[in-house]
């Protein structure tokens, strides 16, 4: 199976381990990710809030490129990229008159990566590829605020309490714990302008994750992973509490369970070192 793949800037930059783990597990699962040729920024960083044409035009170009290459499915790991592309699709469908120069009449199914993995690849396929069950690892899943919202745009059914990443991780043997903060905000890009807000929001996520009994947080969003991973030392100081919560991309844990060889290069790039935890569980 081949699928059109839009990595976005994060997966080529700060989220390289996300990209590498994604590519590795997809390969093992027999799905080829075909990166959109000559893709451009989705507009999430600032473009979308400055100009409507840019907001829609940027992701629309990527969408058109995917379509031109003959793909019907397009998978986007980054939450922000996914959201922007879905917004563009929504705008073009509902207000085509606003964008007379963009000729897109649908045909590409834009999917966030978790949905793609659970629906198009399927848990049964993954189960057969598991070499090492991650039994006993206690985790909370964190979807962030963008992937599901707004449901009228994303089409998400479980936007308050999404479960598909939970199901994937459960299949790997992980003990996925219930908590109420799966889709709360981590502060997002305010980390650059109002870090105090990020400290408060992300700090609460740590507290709640620990309260739920989690040893780590698993996410699918590169910005969330960045905030939660990078700010941990800082927030520890602010809150006068030592946090040590590894923050994984779910694809990294899939890779670990499936026996991918490069796991250590991925984990090396984390600021909160996850290897101690994984070693204590005898996964490394």
């Amino acid at each position: 199976m081949k699928v059109s793949y839009y990595p976005g800037c994060s997966l080529h930059g700060t989220g390289r381990e996300y990209a590498e783990s994604t590519e590795a597990v997809f390969k093992s699962l027999g799905t080829e990710l075909v990166e959109i040729e000559d893709w451009n920024c989705c507009g999430a960083s600032s473009g979308h809030s400055r100009n409507r044409d840019v907001a829609v035009g940027l992701p629309a170009r990527n969408l058109l490129l995917a379509k031109k290459s003959g793909f019907t499915d397009m998978v986007i790991p980054c939450s922000a990229c996914f959201q922007r592309t879905k917004v563009a699709e929504h705008e073009l469908k509902n207000h085509p008159e606003m964008f007379p120069e963009i000729k897109y009449d649908g045909g590409v199914h834009i999917m966030d990566i978790v949905t793609f993995v659970s629906e198009n690849i399927g848990i049964d396929t993954i189960k057969k590829k598991i070499k090492k069950h991650l039994d006993g690892l206690k985790a909370v899943t964190y979807y962030g605020c963008l992937t599901m919202r707004h449901p009228s745009i994303t089409g998400s059914k479980d936007f308050e309490n999404p479960r598909n990443m939970d199901a994937l991780l459960t299949a790997l043997g992980i003990d996925v714990l219930d908590w109420s903060y799966k889709t709360d905000c981590c502060g997002g890009s305010l980390v650059l302008t109002r870090p105090d807000i990020v400290w408060e929001l992300s700090g609460r996520l740590y507290d709640k994750a620990i309260e739920a009994g989690a040893e780590c947080i698993v996410t699918l969003c590169p910005l969330c992973q960045g905030n939660l991973d990078q700010q941990q030392a800082e927030i520890s100081k602010k809150n006068n509490r030592k946090y040590n919560l590894p923050v994984f991309y779910f694809t990294e844990l899939m890779g670990l369970a499936m026996g991918e060889g490069d796991v250590n290069t991925w984990f090396k790039r984390h600021l909160v070192d996850p290897t101690a935890l994984l070693k204590s569980k005898k996964f490394l």
Partner: protein, 1490 residues
Amino acid sequence: MTESNVVELKDKRKSGAGVGAVMVVGGGIAGMQSALDLANSGFKVYLVERNTAIGGRMSQLDKTFPTNDCAMCVISPKLVEVDKNLNIEIITNAEVMALEGEVGNFDVTVRQHPRYVDLEKCTSCGDCFKVCPVSIPNDFNYNLDEKNAVYKRYPQGIPNAYAITKAERAPCVLTCPTGINVQGYVALTGDGKFEEAYKLITERNPFPSVCGRVCHHPCEEKCNRGEIDEPVAINNIKRFASEWVKKKRDKEGYLPEKPAIDPSKPKIAIVGGGPSGLTCARDLILDGYQVSLFEAEEKLGGAMRFGIPKYRLMEEYLDWDIKNIVDLGLDVKTGKRLGKDFTIKSLKENGYKAVYLGIGLPVARKVPFKGADLNGVLWGMDFLSSVSKGDKPKLGKKVVVIGGGNVAVDVAMTAKREGADEVSIVSLECREEMPAHEWEIQDAVDEGVKLNPSWGPDEILGKDGKVTGIKLVQCTCVFDPNGKFNPQFDKTCENKIDADTIIIAIGQAADLGWINDDSPVEKQGGGIKSDSLTLSTNVEGIFCGGDVAYGPKSVVEAINQGHEAAESIRRFVEGRNISEGRKKPDREAAKVPKDRPYYKRKRYVADKTPVADRKGNYKEVEHTFDEMAAVDEAKRCVACGICSECLQCVVACLPGAIDHSQVAEDSSIRVGTVVLAPGFDLFDAYKKPEYGYGQYQNVITSMEMERTFSASGPYQGHVSRPSDKKLPARIAWLQCVGSRDATIGKEYCSSVCCTYATKQATLAKDHYGDKVGATIFLNDLRTFGKGFDRYYNSAVQKYGVRYVKSFISTIKEVPGTKNLLIKYINEEGQLVEDEFDLVVLSMGLVPSESSKDLAERMKIDVNEYGFTKRQDMRPGETSRKGIFVAGVFEAPKDIPETVMSASSAAALSSELLSSSRGTMVSNKIYPEEKDVTGREPRVGVFVCHCGINIAGVVDVPAVVEYARTIPGVVHVENNLFTCSTDTQVKIKEMIEEHDLTRVVVASCSPRTHEPLFQDTIMEAGLNKYLFDMANIRDQCSWVHASNHGNATEKAKDLVRMSIARVKTLEMLHELPFIVNQDALVIGGGIAGLTAALGVANQGYMTHLVEITEELGGNARHLYYTLEGSEPKKYLADLINKVNANEKIKVHLKSKVIKYSGHVGNFTTEIEKDGKRDSVTHGAIIVATGGVEYKPVEYLYGKNDHVLTQVELEKRIAENSTSLQQVKSVTMIQCVGSRDAEHPYCSRYCCSAAIKNALRLKELNPDMNINILYRDIRTYAFKELYYKKARDLGINFLSYDEEKKPEVSAGEGGNLKIINYDRGLKAGLEMESELLVLSAAIRSNPEAKMIAQALKLPNDADNFFLEAHMKLRPLDFANVGVFLCGLAHSPKLVEESISQAKGAVSRACTVLSKHEMMVGGIVSHVNEEHCVACLTCVRICPYGVPKINNKGVAEIAEASCQGCGNCVSACPRKAIELYHYKDDQIISKCEVIYA
């Protein structure tokens, strides 16, 4: 009731008139009220209810607001009343499918769904319930606890009978190749009934021990639980049940009962002792056939013994299953090989009429292989077989197994146990494609077996004739695109594995060397050709099935073949068609029931022997569940098929009432009109996922809270939260969940939630005081009903309930405690987060699920929310003539309004059908009563077993013998069920035979059964009062279940007491009097006019008395309504009709002075122009109206720019141009309402303000309109206009009662208004050209005088007080006097119209009768003892006792309700209550101590 004494009155319809019958759809409180009103005013009623019992939502409530009466206590008598009414036919478990015809003559198709319990036979003893193993969430308790698949909706439910619920069959049942009732045995195991579970399994599967270990359990793959978390471990449960029974039987030395062999049936031969052969043999033996089984090996079992390694199936269990078959009487001939020891021909010659070949595939499939002849090459199946026979096949240390199937895996693991150090499996398939089961591959891997997937053997390498290894080539693809086996290899990619033993396990083969002329069976492929449906071969009478027919499959499939073979053989020897009806139809499987939340529960996993302990031995790898695990795991079953058809109930039901064969039946019923009262459902809480319903255990709905409070609810009335059953210390209510919410398409207000939340919070505080904190988060407080604001005030002031106006957007759960976090803006305006132990979602109302179909079938219009479409000024009507609506289907409303609308719908129906009144009703005629006065009592006693309900505890025969010894008793007997129909016949016979004059039944509760037995003795000519009941069930056997001896003694005491009393009882007679069929209506406003016209249209003469000189009342000032109706026009039309009606006599400028008489016979004095006149009539309707309050505040009357809403409305309607230039208008709400002196809501003013504001906006869209309010109370669909007003820019600014707006004269004639803003904590100043006051409604000052004249009660606000605020809102306690309109409480014009029609319906229950009965159980004054102290006059709740002209108290028989209050209060003991006279009570006490 027997046919002979029920007389159907002849159909005396006038030609052209409608049918004198009405169908009421929905058996809730609305349907019941409509039905009772109609049946009591001369119409036949069909009451169709979709549930198994009537009672509706009200039966699920705990208390009712604002009086906190117990809902069940007030509804229960109504249930009995409906049940007893001869002219109401209750049709439960039914739905209306179609309606044809026109008003007056509708043909309604009603579908009766199967109840699976015969209503005639069910005695409601509950024995079926006790044995039913299937627990499903109890919908009556909103899934907070469980009920069984056979259940009674609630204890007081009518009809008083059980019912069974079924869905489609569960997928596990449909999937199992052997057709076991899987759901059934899982349920029985969950219920601890392991023996029963085992029996159910073995009905279809004679190898439960085997299958419990080796079955590939396709049932689990289809299990619906898998959609929630993981499938139920069905196979482990089966294994546990059979092992439990095995252990028990081993201990007890159990021997199976041998079935009788029928010598007339022919001999049958079975060849092959595998699963299919043994199953076939067993089926035929159980049918009485003589069966011989021939097996080539020395032991039975076939592939189960020789193909399955012992670490998966120990011989002990296989032997046990086989023994259970052989012991039935099977003639077993082992060591007999087909072709060698016998032939098909020889079997026939020896008299076997039919033969079944189930000979399996016992040998390995051998294909030519390079190097296969080398020493060290073994074949898979042969290897397994020889190991299991105990031969030690020679094995090296390095073993390679070729093959990817289950046999290959078994071979590999067996090789390990036989001493091999290294074992590898080589398979063509990649890991995912390997045909072996995943869990078996995993076991092998765990034990250290290496997998080499995607490799094909090229050549077995050898040296010196001995195996040294194997050469492999890469297999690129096993199957072609069509899925056919067609392996492709890449020869360039080679591999080599060293080995000293190669075991080739690539298939099994049949042993068909015996086929020859004596056994001429046709082959196919490697096996035998047989018909897949009938298993017939080419030779007549020879059948063949199992692996040899279709290739290697599973044990369960083989078992199924055995069953099929037996069926074919039966048909063959009996000469029947062999294939007819054999093909199984595809059936839809049950789905996961969606009506409940599911919480994840991990599947139990059986322990396994540690890998280290498996080496070199054949210990079982997997272990059996222990009892706890089996039961607990079985309880994970969601019972998706509901009833599992285990048939335990059929065995338990002694009256034989259970009938699983029932199917749905349609019938056609002709009626004149239809009343729709399908009620409501709660909004679906899952549609507001931010509140986590179904995710957080301690978030519940308001109806779940009702059941929590209820004494008969899941927690026996102790408020507990679901997660830990502890008392929640902090409870939060969230208002408007599913109401006033555009995001979910429910913009309307549900009307009742504010008050019911107030009730629940009050009850919590009342029960638990300071132990519980109650907080209600709300938008507007909408306690707009009669007495509701007082109720709210008491919640705040007396109980300390906290109300916070803040809308909650999300709930979070605290892990561990499962408490809930809510963020809100507090009273001080700060954002805070609070923790609560329990959150109650105040759910909005939506039309019941069934009403969508109902509306379509009735072809009536509904609005966008699914409620009936409003008809302008015609409440209760639908878009189709003759179809009326009652209750919430019209709009969200509370119980009293529902009851009013139900009476109104009844009146609308009866008005249309008035000419057919009395044509369809039946009366029961009893034989003449025998006079027993003065005769020595002859008592008959009937003691009931109630199945085992009584007899299981009380020694019934001992009670019977005891009763015989009591003087006066001439006949005693015991009955299995005294209430059953045949016992009624018997009681009548005994009365006749023994000339009984008194009857005692010792059984259950008189509440449910006394009317039945009274009816029976009346049929035998005894007065119904010569009867007494001893409750030896509810008050004896049930409460003393653990103390049999004393319970029997107590039962004797109870019987002795009843006999003592029955001997003192007297015949009582109810006497008829003639009813005056005229009515008196007091008040000529819109309510009075509507009522007068309504009564006249029903065919009765009406006197309409109006105190002023003009008809019309307040409606004369009503120009338009919020919805756009024009009441003035309506009123003019109404007055014309009233004036033109010959049956209405209008008395203007007239006053009611006084009245006398009783229901059916009143005389009233009316004064006009100083002259008095008296009229006689049978009923009174009070419609004296109300008045608008004239404000004294806010400069009203002092400044021309200040006016009331009524005055503004007049200006808008009559002089709108004067308003077009007005730039600003301010309105102030609650002027004269909801203050300390008048703590009630005037209800109409919010609507009036908004309707006038909207009109002003129409006149001048730029007009600035401010509405200063406390709570906007636009209930139901009025909310849409509130939203529209906001959308149009009308400003709504709230004010507090403590800080009312300040009004002063401003510049240029304008008004200056300062309103305190809570958010800003400052006064906001505004200028306004006009100030409009929303003035209160006050009761009519004249009403007080009328209350005195008619001796009617007033409430604290001087409105009239009805008989009961919930269920009798239109009645006075004084029988025959009714109430409607503003006289009752403030309301809107259409509500007055609806009430007036309702009052007509209530009055017609009197007026329609030619005669009424008086007497029976009534109080009687002994005039000689009476000293006229007035105690009885004061205490009587119905105002019946009067001091007569003799100066003593007199109690009118016609009015007395028989409550007995006066009797107990009378200080001189001058009053006695018939049937409960002192000596009748004392007689019981005397015998206790005798």
